[in-house]
């Protein structure tokens, strides 16, 4: 077997549905076949590669450039910013706000995606059984996504207002005390997480539901014949076969959640006093939250987030490969 196929990192995992079936590329006429496949693959990838270069090369370069120079508003307009090396990164890492922001980022991200995924999967399994109105209701679940974030964020802030919010009104009518959702340093992060979970559930529901659609019905029928109950069917069929889709959903969820700014900004502006400031919010505040745009530290924070996302990207590929091997 030529080096080419074995060294190429594979982005594929044969679904359990075809477990035991031969791999898609037939082996015999190895070298020729592989080369022509490579050319074909390149052909299929060409639009994407051109697209990536066209749309992202400059912004990516710009973000790194910004973070390595000491841009003031003046040098942003006139050019000629001083090269600062890793100075901006050092400033960010040694800032008093860094550790709390990092902690908030991890709490916000992991609680959000764990809850979004769990709720999304539960709903996807629930909606898998076609019942009256199921398609319409599933469509309705996407409605929150149609709202501009300024609207959904404001609505949540409205509902969670300490004094005239509907949530506290309900709590009080049950005899529970008022909670200062957005203005208590202990609750502000919880509040934005709740709103963010709400925003993320439709995304998880739709992707996981589509994933479920690709699991052959026969497997469930066979399992039912073997006497497996719904719980066992979920853990033995649904969950394992959904793994590739789950993996990508979680990874994308992570990437999107890491960079969330709008919801937090609209609801609490990262406050009170930094209690709900994540790295992304901090970056945004440096660049646009004050009267004086400070792009260099903002870009440095942005690049740190990028590194975090990359680390999880590695983890994803690693897990995927390990699974491929087994």
């Amino acid at each position: 077997m030529p080096v080419t196929t074995t060294s190429a990192p594979r982005l594929r995992k044969p679904g359990g549905a075809e477990a035991g079936l031969p791999a898609s590329a037939p082996r015999p006429p190895a070298r020729v076949r592989v080369r022509s496949t490579q050319w074909a693959a390149l052909g299929f990838l060409a639009p994407l590669i051109v697209y990536l270069l066209a749309c992202y090369a400059y912004p990516l370069y710009r973000n790194i450039d910004l973070s390595l120079h000491d841009y003031t508003v003046r040098s942003f307009v006139q050019g000629g910013a001083d090269f600062a090396g890793l100075e901006n990164y050092r400033d960010v890492l040694t800032d008093d706000g860094f550790l709390p922001a990092l902690r908030n980022t991890f709490l916000f991200t992991f609680v959000s995606i764990a809850a979004q995924y769990a709720i999304g999967l539960a709903l996807a399994v629930f909606f898998r059984n076609n019942f009256r109105l199921s398609a319409v209701l599933r469509g309705m679940f996407l409605v929150p996504w149609l709202l501009p974030l300024i609207v959904s964020g404001s609505t949540w802030a409205w509902m969670l207002n300490s004094d005239n919010g509907i949530v506290n009104t309900v709590l009080e009518s049950f005899g529970a005390g008022r909670i200062n959702w957005l203005t208590d340093p202990g609750w502000a992060l919880v509040s934005v997480i709740i709103a963010n979970i709400w925003l993320g559930v439709p995304f998880n529901l739709v992707i996981l539901y589509s994933g479920l659609q690709n699991i052959p019905e026969e497997l469930y029928e066979a399992a039912a014949l073997d006497g497996a109950n719904a719980w066992q069917q979920f853990w033995r069929i649904t969950f394992p076969l959904l793994r590739p889709v789950s993996g990508i959903t979680l990874l994308l969820g992570l990437v999107y959640t890491l960079k969330v700014v709008d919801v937090i900004w609209i609801m609490t502006t990262g406050g009170p006093g930094g209690a709900s400031t994540t790295l992304a919010v901090w970056s945004y505040r440096e660049a646009f939250g004050t009267g004086l745009p400070d792009f260099s530290p903002a870009a440095a924070i942005g690049n740190l987030l990028l590194l975090i996302a990359l680390a999880f990207g590695f983890l994803y590929l690693h897990l995927q490969r390990r699974q491929e091997r087994t």
Binding site: C55, S162, P293
Partner: protein, 421 residues
Amino acid sequence: MTRLPRPARTSLALGAALCTLAGAAACSSSASSGEGGDGGPAGAYTWWDPYPQHDDSSGWAQRVAKCGTEAGVTIERTAYDTTALTNQALLAAQEGTSPDIILLDNPAVSTLAETGMLTTMEEFGLDTSGIDENLLAAGVLDDQAYGIPIGANTLALYYNQQVLDEAGVDPASVTDWDSLTAALEQVTGAGHKGITFAAIGTEEGSFQFLPWFWGAGADLRDLSSADAVEALELWSGWLESGYAPNSVINNSQNTTWEEFLTGDFGFALNGTWQVNSAAEAGFPTGVLPVPAQDGGAAPAPTGGEFITAPVQDDTARYEVTKKIVECMTTPEGMVETATTFAYYIPPTADGQQQLLADSPDLRPWVDAVRVARGRTSDNLGTDYPKISEALWTAVQKALSGAADPADALAEAQAAAEDEIG
């Protein structure tokens, strides 16, 4: 999925790719290589302002258009929301495509002047000596004026006459902090809510805190002074005593006003821009100057926009630009602006006299604007945004109970010094 559109799309993307690379190179070499304007027709002058609420058919748009016609050109007006406007101005300046005129929120003037993208009024030969000095100061950097205020507004205390009557409070008795706090006690004792203000973690939070901060005699160069601590203790004391709702920590000025309109509150800190809305409220209202700690009116920060003229490659354009600026800043023009918006006080003595002749009930606001103070004055310039960020963070920490006022302000002073360097 047809094959057909694919080549078209690919060439499109390729074009963008080449241009992206070209753009990167051009960007780093020269800043002002653009063609000027957003590709509008020749003879058109571009105008940006932060009033998206006034569409093309509004009185404001017509007024802008008229100034263009008088100068012999058409004006292409684009409205941005306030934050987007500053960012867009920076971007356009970087690409050398600045508009001919930008109306800027006053604290942004010194920031943009700092970049070198604005012309001075002196270069234009415009006389700024008639403008009230306290109002012009926000646009002055190193003794040069970079714009002319087209109107000014500021903060004062609105009160709900009905609520005060029921609580037995005479608004005239509110002259200093103690009498205000006593009035709040009476109002809440009568089953109403005391006061609402905005302490949100943005510039608005600092804007609303400044009258109290300055009213205590504190200085923005020293956030941790005893005076500053007393001002913050006044606010946090109100929250602890229940005179102000906890939600003020997250309130924007707009939310504050909505709360006041419910009719539950005795007082609300808000600006000139709510004059019309107050008149239409379902209850009688009145206005008091924000009291200073020991009596008298505290200086409130000025708000309002400046008309500025960004640097152009083609300096021949300045002649017409000057005419447009003049059209907007004559005493009549100022009064017209004031009435178009229904909330701007003209920044010249002449203009103020004319405005008062037309609408005498604006008297308290004219007085308030006369004693108001620019946030970026005293040559604070681009240090102000950094100080302001430290200040609103301290206010938020103190009000939410994360730190006591003295500690929060000490921390703020350290942060501000660190930032300014």
